[in-house]
Symmetry: C3
């Protein structure tokens, strides 16, 4: 994995054969001290694990892809986990095997095939993720926004989330 | 729907369960007085309507998706409708149900599942859309570009579009 | 093909019916003297050729799409070929025909249907591609990074690439 600053918080990242996408993005986010970032990319995978989030159970239904795939698109965000301050990487992908019919989903793991070319736009300002009861996915909190069920700065419960309080 | 400025015309938007994508983007575009913008995003939908534009008839062939889907990618533009000055939102998406085989198309409506995380890059400079005969989709006009069939500033018909005059 | 500067190296490009994507991006890259750029876009195609890169043979397995397709997403990079200094355009796409099941892959050719709307973020700083033995795809070299098999500036072979020397 190599990355290069392009100015104004933007970076070009190249992943080489075998490099794992999510781990590489976490290393980058730590090293570059990313408060918030978003990514877009393309390339190919040697293997990948993607999932669909079951809204009934709140569980990820995973599917492993062991064949080489084109990566038509990577889209994701980098935030900061509120509990431990570590980077939180959220990436979705569109992949295609030889016949080109596309698969898409939430990426748990993706090993680079020939290459991945990734563009990162980063900000020092921190956007945090919080684990929240009743939310199946860690919640991306806007700056100064109260957590669900938390009192707002003026002492009133946040109206739309009062049932979680 | 919540959005937060990231500086230099860029915004992070979060859609919450049930929030409708296209309506939310229109509200944002009005509030932030967007002259031109482009979006990229990911997340999940509870339901969606997408279409393919039939070039023969100029009609959208719609398909409704009532099951929960991952949103692998949202790509779109925000322009200004020339006739009424209102925001014009053009979004395409890649969605995947549980088995992860992807669907893609032009988005007419998308209700948020767990979340949508959207990045917006906006400009004050206005890019306008015009309804034009012979065009099945409102036409995105570059600044100072004559409309199809319209005289150019020096009085000559625009060469490539002379047949529409 | 029309493009318009949005400031800070960013451009909006519109492709009109019949315009070919890869050729248009090459013309843009030459005219705008792009050292490095990345693209995102949406629209529709009248026809397209996409492929999957076979890692065994290093050959592209092409598939031609002659029906009209929605373009849900274009993602790509513009670099400079080290051997002749010409623009090198690398684009992947997600396409969908009438039933909306998506196809994805590496784009060799894509003729515009109704329109393509493309955002380009460009940099003067040059990122070069090199043809390298053992690499099936021209290699994107980061500034100051030694080529595989080449001596590093201090005279030692690059550790990870020693076998190629």
């Amino acid at each position: 994995m190599k990355y290069h600053p392009l100015g104004d918080g933007r970076y070009l990242m190249r992943l080489d054969p075998g490099d794992e996408l999510i781990a590489s993005l976490r290393i980058f986010a730590s090293e570059a001290q990313v408060g918030f970032g978003y990514i877009t990319g393309l390339g190919s995978t040697a293997s990948a694990v993607m999932s669909w989030l079951d809204p009934e159970s709140g569980e990820y239904v995973r599917r492993k892809f062991d064949e080489p795939m084109e990566v038509a698109n990577l889209t994701g965000t980098i935030t900061v986990a509120a509990d431990d301050g570590r980077p939180f990487v959220h990436v979705h992908a569109v992949l295609a095997p030889q016949e080109l019919l596309a698969y898409a989903g939430h990426v748990h793991e993706a090993r680079t095939g020939a290459v991945m070319e990734i563009l990162l736009t980063t900000f020092e300002q921190k956007i945090e993720r919080h684990s929240v009861p009743d939310k199946s996915f860690p919640w991306m909190c806007m700056p100064d926004e109260p957590l669900p069920g938390e009192d707002t700065p003026d002492g009133d419960a946040a109206a739309g989330d009062a049932t979680a309080g």
